[in-house]
């Protein structure tokens, strides 16, 4: 089962590799990982998407929590939550394709953030489904993609 873990930790060098290292050392899979400082610059929030049954997730959560720098680990998939990803897609856009690509971007409420004579770079944000749908829609024109991992937040205020 897919799970989104939100980890609040000290913003210190090495802290990220400690969490990532824990996953690989215990052979847990990381599907995606994002990390950045929070409103408190001494703290970082990391969102890890992983998979496992309840027992595995319980172990992962406990092991991550055991790391000295980690304050709090929560499985936000347990309740209502918001998930967002950002994706940049470079698409071929020549002749008629230019207009079509622009329309497609509008439909997905995406924006064109880079233009060259033969390509557009389109920025799309949303949950994974939406991003995948966009990729499917412009499949024939894709030159290159870059995706951030999932960034998530619980709808319930529990952190503070």
């Amino acid at each position: 089962m897919r799970r989104v873990l939100s980890i609040l930790m000290e913003n210190e060098s090495g802290a990220l590799s400690r969490v990532a290292g824990l996953f690989s050392a215990r052979s847990y899979n990381i599907e995606s990982l994002t990390v950045a400082p929070t409103e408190d610059p001494t703290l970082s929030r990391m969102t890890v998407v992983t998979a496992g049954d309840d027992t595995v997730i319980e172990q992962i959560t406990k092991q991550v929590h055991k790391l000295i720098e980690v304050f709090k680990v929560s499985d936000i998939t347990e309740g209502r939550h918001v998930e967002r990803e950002l994706m940049l897609v470079k698409v071929r856009a020549e002749g008629d394709e230019r207009e079509e690509m622009k329309r497609l971007a509008d439909i997905f409420r995406a924006s064109i953030v880079g233009v060259s004579t033969k390509t557009f770079i389109i920025q799309v944000t949303g949950d994974r489904k939406k991003l995948n749908a966009f990729l499917a829609a412009c499949a024939g024109n894709i030159v290159e993609t870059a995706r951030t991992g999932v960034c998530g937040m619980s709808r319930v205020s529990e952190d503070k």
Binding site: G14, K66, I68
Partner: protein
Amino acid sequence: METTGAEIIIRSLQEEKVEYIFGYPGGAVLFIYDELFKQKKIKHVLTRHEQGASHAADGYARSSGKIGVCLVTSGPGLTNAVTGIATAYMDSIPMVIISGQVPSHAIGLDAFQEADAVGITRSCTKYNVLVKRVEDIAPTIRKAFHIASTGRPGPVLVDIPKDLTAQKTTYSYPKGALKIRSYNPSSAGHRGQVSRAIKLIKGAKRLMVYSGGGVILGNAATEFTRFVKKLKCPVTNTLMGLGAYPATDKQFLGMPGMHGTYETNMAMQHCDVLVAVGARFDDRVIGDPAHFSQVARQIVHVDVDPSSISKRVKVDVPIVGEVTQVLKSLNEGIAGNMPSTKDMDAWWEQITKWQNKNCLRYKTKPGVVKPQQVIEALHKVTGGDAFVTSDVGQHQMWAAQYYKFNKPRRWINSGGLGTMGFGLPAAVGVQLAHPGAAVACVTGEASIMMCIQELSTCKQYRLPVKIINLNNRYMGMVRQWQEFFHGNRYSESYMDALPDFVKLAESYGHSGVRVERPEDVEPALREVFARKDELVFMDFVTDQTENVYPMVAAGKGLSEMVLAEDL
């Protein structure tokens, strides 16, 4: 007044009341060694290999309950120490390792003797850190000692670049209790869970208590013994927990698991309530978790580390907290005569039947020294009061089975990682922590060769360790598995070209004794242990074919024990 980083390190260690540092000098730590030279409070012990240093610090910590400290240089110094660090990590031993690092400006440039110490030790330390500023040295050392010794203990590595040890700053050591905002190990157990546990214990018909290394590390042996005596139930200590409950007491059934006793494993499997204290349901203890879980029993698990709970076996009542505190609350909650005497009598009747198998019986052969006999004699001669370190293999299991440990911290062995080469350097640390005490290193000819150079350390510091080498001219445990599971194909388990251990010991300036006849075993031990001032290497030429019984094969259930052929 400003002081150098090197002096700050030494003064910080003095603040932590460090008595011994086990280490080996090298380029990156020369300023620190220079400071060591200038003071008298901390004694440095020079081992002959950094693995020896980390095992010695470990042995010191296990036997004394204090924090073991080790100092190594960058690169190969650190990588050599890693086996000892990993050993300590697996068994939750409080240790602080200070490693030198190449100068800050050279880090990341593949400098001479550079290794990514923090990266390499990430998965085998409780915490590790590269110090970046000279001002951070003192607070980091304070933090290291705090983390190493609190909660579930473990090794902490502090990596210090060489240039910092020469730089100067004002020295001040953080005073008072240390607070780390993201690190708050729980101490007292949850009240609700404690009362649930008491209720379960009260209602038990076939109660069994199982303890591990956590009871010893948490200095909870007295409280634990009180708990078990109160319940009048059978008890077992894992390999790491030996000595937590007196082995000669009637309630003690022997060790559980792969080479545990028949009665213990049957009781573990047939009890209706199992109380686990400071033990982590290791695969060597419970065998196949599926088999273990199928049995209808309720499990109460007390452990300071929440991640140990329900890791391998689902637990019904988890209690996270320091074992001494939790045991105190449990003891308070349990009044006399519980569970019901009638049920307990029936349970003990069943256990006595299992005990009657006498599963540790072994056949003697005329003219052949049996390894079990050596350990039994060792127990007799030392009155069961010696500190016994061991290496890993058959000799380790025989020592665990036949030396009846009645006190905690007497049995020093690498339980979790199973590190060959551990015994002799660990004995160095034990003997320094307990000068005058009898220290026996039970080993085998294959294990002792892995860190044999520490005989030289023993000579330098006049450590009268007694080495009990159970020499069967085979990597015994490997041979045993090859017999059981690989059709007697003794692939590389035979040790050809063994040294003459008596002469080897003599060449290091010690004495050596070879014992080849069963009737000489006890007198030889008696004579050797009377020589209190010298190291004696006792080379026991033992039965080459003897195996460790009983045995639960890896992946089998505890009820599927194999007993010795004649049982």
